[in-house]
Symmetry: C2
Subunit: 344 residues, 2 copies
């Protein structure tokens, strides 16, 4: 069954993972909405939150740049990071969003103005307009305050997570709810589990809307586990940890990479990361179907000290175009069966 | 004699004076080039020069904004000044130009990229690409270092100026020379005499090119004298002080305001400024012709704390449209005689 109307795709994630995903998806004739987590409090973003009292611009900036159709120079500029003096560490794009928030008087209006200036395809939607903070309580009772502290703690997998929450509580941006309810496809991830995926699902109204929506839900599993954080996670563990907040049984499909990085990259990574494993034999226990493909980027990565995105992206990363192609196949093939040969 | 080809107008000045002039001139179908002084070392600009090692962006920014055809929001953004934290005092547009200089590797290329992004009508040309400093030697031997120090010294008129110079010496931007030589009309000022006009004329090659050019030269006399700096200057004193660097006898026309500010404004200004005076009776001694008109802006000025331009502009200011109209009449009427009824 084919449908010729423009399909509505909603992505849910954070900064760098969404950047990869959106860079690929924007090439297709779909209605694209990127819902972005708002719990970042580290680096340039953290300083701007503290000093200017603005909402965190970093993840939104990356999504805007991914969806921008403006000149290469303007996109370069948005990711430019100052290296010296009082500005050191600030990404130009973060200053851009913070100034627009100040001028317009609120973050969502600032993002809309930024989208116009950057000639953005689709819509970038902060998951909430609330100024909120992410907390993670370990099973040993230790409480981690803020995304930055969580992101830099490497004993999470050792002690285990008791619970995560936002404080103060945050209500969803109504625009995010609207887009989720109208979606044909909802794409969660890739992105940091604790710092990009869960913070979206902790916003009041988001999991409820996803459960209510008639969209198919795809979860893009990360390529590697993060040492000390999601260390030892299998693909199924990611789904369990995500559905804990989303609601059990809501994920329809999961993409999983079966490509192998080069020896050189594996060596480089050995101490920090491991590829996410997946056991085909457990099929019967799963309510979701797993599509495997080689999703690794073979692009050689140029590390530019002054580029805020190349800084934070991993060396082992998704091939944006491969990922987008797979998702578009999901979307276009009503029954999905035609492409499910590879599914466990 | 009328000429139907597009007329070439070159303006020479600094930040706020050029802003007013260019805002008016850009409405006419002319080829407009704004040559901008590069000696600023105060405020946000000074910090960026020191910390990032960039060329001074402040004056160029104001000219780019004046000539921009982009959205009101983008122009507002360029003049937005951060108010808190480590960014306090920085104008967003200065950060924009500094980042582009860093990305492209040189200031002139950065300005060209900025002009594209801002959809600028005409061309903004830094008078030099040299990283140079302005010096003013008083007759009492005291040496003032840098534009900022000169700008904040209020004993210049008391002691008198022995000489001004740039160190290290600066060669003109070849593009500035090219535009001056091809110009139909060269417009000097309005702008701070010591900090915007003279710094352009101290650049090697600029006065020579103006003398060589066949363009008519108009000098837009400032409306008020600056206390402690050009205190007591008559219109003729401005011409003398300018031709000291430009070469005697090169100025063809001078615009002079004969409008009177309101009592309220005069009262506000009494202690800081006086209107520039002009004695009609000395006519025979002059090689230039003076056109008098009411050139005062009656626009009510809104002081916006976060707007970098409203900050620095005077309360008594030129009416951009009146000034531009007068200059366009000069340009279009070959012999200029038709509009010279008012000339002393």
């Amino acid at each position: 069954m084919k449908n010729t109307s423009v399909k509505k795709v909603v992505t849910i994630g954070g900064g760098t993972g969404s950047f990869a995903l959106l860079s690929g998806l924007k090439k297709y004739p779909i209605e694209l909405s990127a819902i972005v987590s708002m719990a970042d409090d580290g680096g340039s973003t953290g300083i701007l939150r503290d000093e200017l009292g603005v909402l965190p611009p970093g993840d939104v900036r990356q999504c805007l740049v991914a969806l921008s159709d403006s000149s290469l120079m303007l996109r370069k500029l948005m990711n430019y990071r100052f290296e010296n003096g009082g500005l050191a560490g600030h990404s130009f794009g973060n200053l851009f969003l913070s100034a627009l928030e100040k001028i317009t008087g609120n973050f969502t209006a600032g993002v809309a103005e930024a989208a116009k200036i950057l000639n953005v395809k689709g819509e970038v939607i902060p998951v909430t307009n609330a100024d909120t903070k992410l907390f993670l309580q370990l099973k040993n009772k230790i409480l981690l305050h803020g995304e930055s502290e969580i992101n830099h703690n490497f004993e999470i997998s050792k002690h285990g997570v008791a619970k995560m929450y936002l404080s103060p509580k945050a209500k969803a941006n109504p625009r995010a709810i609207e887009k989720i309810l109208a979606a044909d496809l909802i794409v969660i991830g890739p992105g940091s589990h604790y710092c990009a995926i869960v913070p979206n699902l902790l916003v009041e109204g988001i999991p409820e809307a996803i459960r209510k929506s008639r969209a198919k839900v795809v979860y893009n599993c990360n390529l590697v586990n993060k040492k000390g954080q999601t260390e030892g996670f299998t693909l199924d563990d990611y789904i369990d940890a995500t559905e804990k907040y989303l609601g059990k049984g809501r994920i329809d499909f999961v993409t999983h990479n079966r490509g192998k990085p080069s020896q050189r990259l594996m060596k480089k990574y050995k101490q920090d990361s491991e590829l996410v494993s997946f056991e085909r034999t457990d099929r019967k226990k799963r309510h979701y179907r797993v599509l495997e493909a080689d999703l690794l980027s073979t692009e050689r990565i140029h590390l530019d000290k002054a580029d805020a995105i190349s800084h934070t992206r991993a060396f082992i990363r998704h091939d944006s175009d491969q990922l987008a192609k797979m998702l578009m196949l999901f979307l276009e093939l009503g029954e999905y069966e035609g492409i499910l040969r590879d599914i466990a």
